[in-house]
């Protein structure tokens, strides 16, 4: 009897042993397999939607793209950009490099694991595939701009992810550019038009504009850098410029120019003039009905998709990293409303308010001036620069009322809301915003106006910039901004790029800077134009702050605390604000023989022996 028990026990043990390996099979309970995931439209969309997250946009904190141009001559910041001051070290490219390749892997993973049979492919799924081609082009363009000659990641490399397998040489920059364009051409063939997604998804028009930008970038780089250490092998700028025009023509065919721009006639938000129509491209929540906003990102506080740019702009912040301000050089770029260019030395510009009078409307919409709101006036008064009145100047009530309405730029105080040039950012200020840290003003990522500017520039480079071309590109932009059209003439005080420009080119570059200011284009333009003269050895100025100017006089000279601040504001010998004069006595230390490109990370060079370092980064 006892024996039976033991036998039963032994049997139990035996059964356990046999079932053991099955017992150890523990598959995930909540996640599907990735091998077959990309096999339906919904699944594909969920993955592609995930890829959007790496695109640069306004994030939780910070001024994002609105302060990016402190890497150029448009913004001065007490925490200036170290790259344009030649402060980068050979390790400074690390993050940009690895992020771009990491994003490229995600993109290529899609192509490797795309499992939808061709027969099941619909217009919608094809368009999603097009978005991925667009994104692969996007990340290669980032690499092209920063590092030039780079390995092209045209497939998923997980299969040979060993040290040996990754000894991959860089492609020449021209080949990289051609690869980007070929991806974009595929995208253009697959993507749906803007109207299908109201511009919320990557679309065909967007891809065309991107292709124009890439071709223009490479074309001008190959032209202007043909004699320096950054030259492409076998440069062919003409070919790239022609491509810009080809892409442009197909875009114009899809979207006639008079339909593309957001004007007072088309503006869905009820703009009273062209200037306001322009400003609405930056301070509205919903761009579905604005065709000029080809591709934009929607924010919604109630869903936690939010940013703090609006609240930062409302507090006068130009750069969330430090006290900053827009430059005089940017302000001087804008024409008079009659189409004539300004003479920066004209004494009228010593008057803060006069500076804005009778100018291109985009100046008023980009730079904060008297009368412009920071946000809803229930919280903060509009800016108002006026001479401070003292007892005896008028009746006591008048003096009090007058002074109470004065709201000069925030030149004093602490923190990043303090302005160091007198010029706060107006672009993107939402006057309906009251308070709360986060807000949901939309962000336009790609705009139709870029196409017009690229087209005109390529045409001029090719010698084909006829009056007809100008009439359909630069002129409508100018006219929207309330500037009368005048035939281009040489402006003696125009920004010096270190070489002469044709009057047409000068106006195209001026227009580009005016129209695209504070949207993240300026450094790229300076680099591709070989425009280091704009930066190297220079530093920007701000508004006039001599004690004969109204800006200076808007402060109460009887208030000791205020005067302490005012006295300490650095100005140059002529009385213009010169905030970085102590920090950068010799101007930016941009090194033209080196700083056009970022260094390839040293560990990357040690691990991939096929790579070569960019010029003058030992």
């Amino acid at each position: 009897m006892k024996m039976n028990r033991y036998i039963a026990l032994m049997l139990l043990v035996l059964v356990t042993l046999v079932s053991c390996d099955g017992f150890l099979d523990r598959k995930p309970l909540t996640e599907p397999s990735s091998d077959t995931y990309l096999s339906s439209e919904e699944q594909i969309r969920s993955y592609v939607n995930g890829l959007y997250m790496s695109l640069p946009c306004l994030t939780q904190y910070g001024t994002g793209v609105r302060s990016q141009e402190k890497d150029s001559d448009n913004i001065l910041s007490e925490k200036y950009n170290p790259r344009i001051n030649g402060e980068f070290t050979s390790f400074s490219g690390e993050k940009d490099w690895s992020e771009a390749y990491s994003n490229l892997r995600s993109v290529n993973w899609f192509f490797e694991y795309y499992r939808l049979p061709e027969s099941d492919e619909t217009e919608a799924t094809a368009s999603l595939r097009g978005e991925v081609h667009f994104l692969r082009a996007w990340w290669h363009f980032v690499l092209l701009k920063k590092f030039a000659n780079v390995p092209v990641m045209d497939a998923l490399w997980d299969g040979n992810a060993t040290l040996e397998g990754l000894q991959i040489p860089a492609s020449g920059r021209k080949d990289v550019a051609l690869f980007i364009l070929s991806d974009l051409e595929k995208a253009i063939g697959l993507l749906q038009g803007r109207s299908v997604s109201s511009g919320l998804r990557i679309n065909r028009e967007t891809a065309l504009v991107m292709a124009m930008n890439v071709a223009l970038y490479e074309g001008s780089w190959e032209k202007y850098h043909k004699d320096d250490g950054f030259a492409a092998e076998h440069p062919d700028p003409q070919m790239f410029f022609s491509k810009v025009m080809e892409y442009g023509d197909s875009l114009f065919a899809m979207m006639p120019p008079d339909m593309g721009l957001n004007t007072v006639e088309t503006d869905p938000f009820g703009a009273v003039d062209g200037g306001e129509a322009f400003s609405h491209l930056f301070n509205q929540k919903d761009y579905s009905d604005v065709p000029e906003a080809l591709f934009w990102k929607k924010y919604d506080v109630s869903q936690g998709v939010q940013h703090s740019l609006t609240s930062l702009l409302a507090s006068g912040t130009v750069d969330s990293e430090a006290a900053a301000g827009l430059t005089k050089s940017l302000v001087d770029n804008y024409l008079n409303a009659d189409g004539s260019f300004i003479v920066p030395s004209d004494p009228r510009f010593k008057d803060f308010n006069e500076t804005f009078a009778g100018r291109d409307r985009r100046l008023y919409e980009t730079v904060m001036s008297t009368g412009h709101k920071f946000r809803s006036t229930t919280m903060t008064r509009p800016m108002r620069v006026a001479e401070y009145m003292y007892p005896g100047d008028a009746s006591e009530e008048e003096v009090a009322a007058h002074n109470a309405a004065i709201y000069p730029p925030r030149l004093g105080g602490d923190g990043n809301g303090r302005n160091i040039t007198g010029y706060h950012t107006a672009l993107g200020v939402d006057t309906t915003y009251v308070s709360s840290t986060f807000w949901d003003t939309g962000l336009v990522m790609v705009r139709y106006a870029e196409a017009l500017l690229a087209y005109a520039e390529a045409a001029e480079e090719l010698g084909q910039c006829t009056d007809e071309v100008l009439a359909k590109t630069i002129r409508p932009l100018r006219e929207r901004a309330g500037v009368a059209w005048q035939t281009p003439m040489t402006d003696p005080s125009f920004t010096d790029y270190g070489y002469p420009l044709t009057p047409n080119m000068q106006e195209i570059r001026r227009e580009r800077r005016s129209e695209l200011a504070l949207q993240g284009f300026r450094l790229d333009d300076i680099l591709r134009w070989r425009g280091h003269e704009v930066l190297a050895g220079r530093r920007g100025r701000g508004a006039y702050f001599g004690n004969d100017g109204v800006l200076y006089r808007s402060f109460n000279r009887n208030d000791a605390a205020v005067m302490e601040v005012v006295r300490n504001i650095p100005v140059d010998s002529e009385g213009w604000m010169d905030p970085l004069k102590d920090k950068l006595p010799a101007g930016y230390g941009f090194r033209p023989d080196r700083d056009y490109l970022l260094p390839i990370p040293p560990d990357e060079l040690s691990l991939d022996h096929e790579l070569k370092q960019n010029p003058n980064w030992e």
Binding site: Y6, L9, R26, S34, E41, S46
Partner: protein, 1034 residues
């Protein structure tokens, strides 16, 4: 010299012998007591493995809420890991305490396996009052039978059980209080104003505080919060309070404001035990209440324990044991994870007020975190029930068959409520805060998806089952003793958790889903794993003089793919107690034991592998806060569920092999009054899984996502020494002294990094992401820089010879900056190529691994009165503070920071003040962002962990009272600390990384990259706990 040594030795020996002769025989036979070992008990003198034991007396009176804390310093080789716990918070009630045995085993981690009465369980679920003994198994031979999860040591906790005889009732209760220790001292606001002005001046900015503002600060100090100096005024628009700190002029010590001076704690334990010859029982119940140190808000932990043990001799050949251990803990505090709060406290400005000059219903200012914390409430009730039923049949004398079923259920029920914080404006209007706030969310949710006026409920459950069947056979044949065991065990664990969130709370004060009308968010998590193992062990001894043991286990784990799943892990040990041989006895030495032990064995570690890493899994996230609002298909414009790129699949990973070799010596002398144990060991983990080899970034695969392979080796060598002396003198005076000391060093001996890339934080190179062959774990790469520039000429002269443009342009170097040494003499200071062959001026300047950890136990007693103490410490440790705001100013304003370089104070320790609040501040980064020899801290310390005074009433006094034993005691934890750290740091929480303040667990202990401020030290303070207790037995 040698002679002198000799003489000294002899003298010492004679002295000790003389003392021994005069003493009496110790009344317990220590060597014969049976101790708990892997799946059984064994007489201490026959053990051949490396084992430490701790008895209940050592821990029972300690005022700790987690047993782990009581083991520190009491067991050699036992380390509390204060480093970089995931969102660790220091001394917060209920905070998990992590530990390891003999140091870090694998670069992938691997924690000791804890068994409480045979069931895997967290030490924090053990009622200290129920503990009978604790055994720590340290080498492979000891833990071999536990297999799969025992590679890095096993802790066996045995609770009390009933014994045959009269039932006894015991009550053990204590009451006392805790006070925070190591609190930083905040600058007075006048000092703060000067500090800020100096910082801004150094950064080329205008002063912030004008002379008139400083005057106001001084006036406030003389007449605080008065009508004339309320500390704050209305802003210039007249619509709100002046919110910027430089427009306020109070003088607030925020640490004093947020933390209490003391918090009450109490514990009560009652147990009943007894038994007959056939049945015995033990039932213990305990209650612990610990108030937290946070002031103004709810912060409390209550714990309840019920422990039941029954054993019965059902039939003469059948024995049954049943244990059930229930722990309920009830935690209440404002937020689930308060790291953000601890990060924020230390950068509050002393000029900000804590009260507003209005009598509103709500008048806390918005910069006062209590405004938000008061309106939020997190509660977590967790229930853990561990039980085991074991039945042992004894078919023949010496042959046992045991079948056990062990089970544990962990259930948690949590809620998180967020009300509407309010402030009163100067005109009496009340402003209600809406939207979300960083740090305010239910665990697992993202704060962006959580808004004020919401309610979240969540549950989790874990089920653990582990059947175990084994059979032992014991036999004696002449002078030989044999014991053999064979068995089979499996483990299965299933976890699930979920939460539901709803916002739009309708009426205030009531939090429920029905009282809300807003967005619903919900998510879940489920997983499971299993292991299985066959094991066998054989013991032999000859007259208890020579011993041998051989054991092995075959283990399978669900973490590995079929074909890579099973591993076989054998172990063996031998020992010999020379003192018991007749020849030795004949010498009449004072030795009662002189045992030499040798063991060698291999164990498997599976911790390097994630649960499902061999499978291709699609990462899906239904609530990714970074997802865009996108249209598509039929859905509205929404974030939806996003899929992200999968990690690489690791199909080939298998067990890491942990080879342990241990040589040990056990000595007992003078009637066992003196005992000494010494162990030296080597633990080599081969086939260690990843972390991934160094690959170029063009792979596009972040190092954490790469396919893992078993490709590296870590070697850990160490030694341990324990010496104990205890004696009772003829007059009834007893005393004892114990000392333990251990040390180890772990070196990476194989790693796939052929280019020798160095990745170390705060060097200018990539942050910790890889290893190289020959790397000491914890090593700190940095620059030699011992002094600050003290004159302009010195700067100019130095820059003539040395190029320091790697740090910043030549024009920016100034007096008060760090003078970096050109260590390799190449005329420039830089990290070279960042490889072993060319590391420029970088060198290893220290090591953050604790070395020479020690514990000292001292006690003395006379007629029932006893005083005892425990000292614990680390004799050698370096700690890099680079990038830390906490030490280097930036955003912390402690009196410590006043000791900085300035023209008035050229010998200041800290560099010249610069503004560290932005990401791109070069000056601040150069002086404080790199590891340098000047700012390498000495983190060695010694702490009096405990001091206890107790009195046992004599039996004669208790006669006729019905009380058989009565003991009263007073005990204090964390009495004092000796260290060389700056005041604001505690050596035990030094390296806790505050993720909210920019720290990251991955990059600890080097913390983050030079560019980012990091948050080490931003923690809940540890406390000094003082309690009175009574222990009474009827």
């Amino acid at each position: 010299m040698k002679k002198l040594n000799h003489i000294l030795c002899i003298f010492l020996f004679m002295a000790v012998t003389a003392t021994a002769m005069s003493g009496q025989t110790a009344d317990t036979l220590v060597l014969d007591e049976s101790i708990v070992i892997g799946m059984g008990r064994q007489k201490r003198n026959t053990v051949t493995a490396a084992v430490s034991t701790i008895d209940s007396r050592t821990v029972s009176a300690r005022p700790v809420s987690d047993l782990t804390g009581a083991l520190q310093g009491n067991a050699v080789g036992f380390n509390i890991v204060t480093d970089a716990g995931s969102d660790a918070v220091g001394g917060e009630p209920g905070a998990p305490v992590r530990f390891n045995i003999r140091g870090q085993g694998s670069v992938n981690g691997g924690e000791p396996y804890v068994l409480v009465d045979g069931v895997e369980q967290s030490l924090s679920n053990v009622n200290v009052a129920d503990v009978e003994s604790i055994t720590i198994l340290k080498d492979a031979s000891a833990s071999s039978v536990y297999g799969a999860r025992a590679a890095y040591g096993v802790v066996l906790v045995t609770t009390k059980s009933g014994t045959e005889g009269r039932p006894t009732v015991n009550y053990n209760g204590s009451v006392g209080f805790s006070s925070p220790i190591g609190m930083p001292e905040i600058m007075a606001s006048v000092d703060f104003a000067g500090y800020m002005n100096e910082m801004r001046e150094n950064s080329g900015q205008t002063p912030l505080f004008s002379p008139s503002a400083i005057k106001r600060l001084e006036d406030f100090a003389s007449d605080p919060y008065s009508e004339s100096f309320p500390g704050i005024s209305v802003n210039e628009n007249g619509d709100n309070w002046a919110s910027s700190y430089y427009n306020q002029y109070a003088d607030t010590d925020w640490f004093d404001y947020y933390f209490k001076d003391y918090a009450i704690r109490q514990s009560h334990n009652l147990s009943v035990s007894g038994g007959t010859s056939k049945v015995n029982y033990y039932v213990g119940a305990g209650y612990l209440s610990q108030d937290g140190l946070l002031d103004q808000v709810e912060d409390e932990l209550d714990k309840y324990h019920v422990n039941i043990k029954l054993s019965a001799l059902v039939k003469p050949w059948l024995k049954m044991n049943f244990n059930n251990s229930l722990t309920v803990s009830d935690l209440a505090r404002p937020l689930a994870n308060q790291t953000i709060f601890y990060a924020l406290i230390s950068d509050r400005y002393p000029t900000q007020t804590t009260v507003l000059p209005v009598d509103g219903e709500y008048s806390l200012p918005s910069w006062n975190e209590v405004m938000y914390l008061k309106e939020t409430s997190y509660t977590s009730v967790s229930v853990s029930d561990a039980m085991s039923l074991s039945v042992t049949a004894t078919p023949l004398e010496g042959w046992d068959i045991t079948a056990e079923m062990k089970a544990r259920m962990d259930v948690q029920d949590n809620s998180f409520a967020m009300g509407f914080p309010k402030t009163t404006l100067p005109d009496g209007r009340i402003v209600v805060t809406s939207g979300s706030r960083q740090g305010y969310q239910y665990p697992g949710m993202h704060w962006k998806n959580t808004s004020f006026g919401s309610y979240t409920r969540g549950n989790s459950s874990g089920i653990y089952l582990s059947p175990n069947v084994f059979s032992t056979f014991e036999a004696k044949s002449g002078r030989h003793y044999f014991k053999a065991m064979i068995g089979f065990q499996t483990e299965y664990q299933k976890n699930s958790s979920s939460y539901t969130y709803k916002d739009g709370v309708l009426s205030e004060g009531v939090f429920s889903f029905s009282n809300s009308d807003g967005t619903v968010v919900s998510d879940e998590l489920r997983n499971h794993w299993a292991t299985a193992g066959f094991y066998a062990r054989m013991n032999w001894n000859w007259r208890e003089i020579c011993f041998a043991e051989i054991s092995g286990r075959a283990d399978g784990s669900s973490r590995f793919a079929p074909g890579h799943r099973w591993g076989f892990f054998p172990a063996a040990s031998v020992g010999c107690d020379i003192a018991r041989t007749e020849r030795f006895r004949a010498l009449h030495t004072p030795f009662s034991q002189m045992k030499i032990r040798l063991s060698y064995g291999r164990l498997g570690n599976q911790n390097g592998a994630g649960l499902y890493q061999y499978l291709a899994i699609m990462p899906l996230n239904p609530a990714n806060p970074n997802a865009w609002l996108l249209p598509g298909g039929t859905s509205d414009i929404s974030q939806g569920t996003v899929a992200t790129v999968p990690l690489m699949v690791s199909p080939f990973i298998t067990w890491e092999k942990v080879d342990n070799a241990d040589i040990g010596l056990d000595l007992s002398l003078f009637n066992d009054r003196l005992s000494l144990t010494f162990d030296a060991y080597q633990r080599t983990t081969t086939d260690m899984i990843g972390p991934a080899e160094a690959l170029p970034s063009i792979s596009g695969i972040p190092s954490g996502s790469r396919a893992k392979v078993n490709n590296s080796t870590l070697r850990n060598r160490g030694w341990e020494l324990t010496v104990n002396w205890s004696d009772i003198l003829p007059g009834g005076f007893s005393y004892s002294a114990g000392f333990n000391l251990f040390d180890y060093k772990a070196v990476v001996t194989r790693y796939n990094n052929p280019e020798g890339m160095i990745s170390n934080n705060h060097t200018g190179l990539a942050a910790n992401k890889g290893y190289y062959e020959g790397m000491d774990l914890g090593e700190i790469w940095g620059y030699e820089a011992d002094v600050l520039f003290t004159s302009g000429e010195e700067v100019d002269e130095y820059l003539e010879d040395v190029d320091m443009s790697f740090f910043k342009p030549r024009s920016q170097w100034m007096v008060g900056d760090l003078k970096f040494k050109d260590s390799n003499g190449d005329g420039r200071v830089d990290p070279g190529k960042g490889t072993i062959d060319d590391h420029g001026d970088l060198k290893v300047i220290g090591n953050a691994t604790p070395r020479f950890s020690f514990g000292i136990n001292l006690s003395a007693g006379y007629k029932g009165l006893e005083i005892s103490t425990l000292l614990q410490g680390v004799a050698k440790r370096d700690f890099p503070m680079a990038g830390s705001t906490y030490l280097f100013g930036g955003r912390n304003y402690f009196t410590d920071h006043l000791d900085h370089f300035s023209n008035d104070n050229p010998s200041g320790w800290l560099p010249r003040l610069t503004d560290g609040t932005g990401a791109a501040d070069t000056d601040w980064r150069v002086n404080t962002g790199y590891n340098t020899s000047r700012y390498l801290l000495n983190a060695a310390y010694m702490r009096m962990k405990n001091l206890t005074v107790s009195y046992d009433f004599a039996a004669t006094v208790l006669k006729n009272t019905g009380i058989s034993r009565l003991r009263i005691y007073a005990t204090c934890d964390n009495v004092f600390t000796l260290d060389a750290l700056p005041d604001a740091f505690d050596p035990e929480t030094l390296n806790i990384v505050n993720t909210w303040a920019g720290g990251s667990r991955e990059t600890a202990p080097g913390l983050t990259t030079p560019m980012v401020q990091n948050g080490n030290g931003k923690v809940y303070p540890l406390s000094r706990t003082f309690v009175f207790g009574i222990d009474i037995t009827f």
